[in-house]
């Protein structure tokens, strides 16, 4: 279920439209992009006690790390 209203994060050349959801008792974020690339689902997982952002399913790790960090930054500064 979606938990919060949709929010937008505007970067220099792209706008992310983000919704947060609880799926299987965990939190995921779905990101829509203004440049037309496919939506990305990201999740903050734990790797050796260190949190890291990952894409769900696997395969878009670079994007997950970059855009996940932007989400964390946005939520922290709200």
């Amino acid at each position: 279920m979606q938990t919060d209203p949709t929010f937008e994060i505007v970067l220099s050349d792209i706008t992310m439209t983000v919704t947060s959801h609880f799926v299987a008792n965990d939190e995921v974020f779905r990101i829509g992009f203004s440049d037309g690339r496919p939506p990305l689902v990201v999740h903050e997982a734990l790797g050796g006690n260190r949190p890291f952002w990952t894409s769900l399913p696997q395969g878009r790790q670079k994007e997950a790390e970059f855009f996940g960090a932007r989400i964390a930054e946005y939520l922290k500064n709200k």
Partner: protein
């Protein structure tokens, strides 16, 4: 240790991620707890199929867009208002709701942007319940007079013994002439509030047009004249069949970490 997306994770975390991956695949991202209209997100709508004998369940963008808007930039101006080159402010229009009284003529008496859709493209918006604010004006302790600013209390309104219900809607296809993107957009019609909704939505005293099964069928499939369309859109769902209760307002400012704590 295992690897997920090239990152070293514990076996337990790996299993959790695989389970989450599976759940995400099946997850319908329309399944949201709350639709905030001003996010203009997709909502579930029943509309007549091409044969006009049955209906399809489709997703539509909430917020009716007239076809003359050229692109998303024009949409943003239409919705939010804008200042022109001379510095004159043009107000924005909220088309999440369409007043039943103004489906064919707007408040100035001119033809309404909704008229064609009301005649040809009526639909039903599915809902399990909706939220509305009740405004309470506290009394000034010294003068005993109500303060000018109100405290807002959110209420959740639903229909008794019904998991979901129908709200009358009208839809319009809109094409972005820059990108060619076509979306179906929808507006929910509103009627005067019934006694329950007058107490809850005490600032505007309006409510969505909630339709029982018979009216819902007639709204979608009936060959209706303008008077009947207006009559149905103005119909008040009985207050005694509805429930309203106060709810706790959870701030958007909850952090990821705090939300995670809430679920563990």
């Amino acid at each position: 240790m295992c690897y997920y997306n090239g990152q070293k994770v514990s076996r337990a975390e790996f299993i959790k991620l695989l389970q989450l991956e599976k759940a995400v695949k099946k997850y319908d991202f329309l399944n949201r707890a709350v639709h905030n209209g001003f996010a203009y997100a997709p909502i579930a709508v029943l509309k007549r199929d091409t044969d006009e004998t049955n209906f399809d369940i489709v997703q539509m963008e909430w917020g009716f867009l007239p076809p003359y808007l050229k692109n998303r930039e024009a949409v943003a101006k239409f919705r939010n208002g804008y200042k022109d080159e001379q510095g004159k402010w043009h107000i924005g229009y909220t088309t999440l709701n369409a007043k039943a009284e103004n489906l064919f003529n707007n408040e100035k008496g001119n033809p309404s942007i909704y008229a064609d859709a009301a005649r040809k493209r009526r639909c039903l918006v599915l809902s399990t319940g909706f939220y509305e604010w009740r405004h309470v004006f506290p009394l000034n302790k010294k003068t005993g007079q109500p303060l000018k600013t109100s405290i807002k209390y959110p209420y959740y309104i639903s229909v008794k013994d019904q998991e979901y219900f129908y709200m009358a809607g009208i839809w319009q296809e809109w094409t972005d002439k820059d990108t060619g993107e076509t979306v179906q957009t929808v507006s929910v019609t509103t009627a005067e509030a019934n006694p329950l909704m007058q107490q809850v939505h005490n600032s505007k005293k309006r409510m969505p047009t909630i339709l029982n099964d018979d009216l819902a069928y007639e709204w979608m499939f009936g060959d209706l004249n303008d008077e009947r369309i207006t009559e149905i859109a103005l119909s008040q769902f009985p207050a005694k069949q509805m429930d309203a209760c106060t709810i706790v307002y959870i701030s958007e400012k909850l952090t990821t970490q705090f939300r995670r704590k809430l679920t563990t």
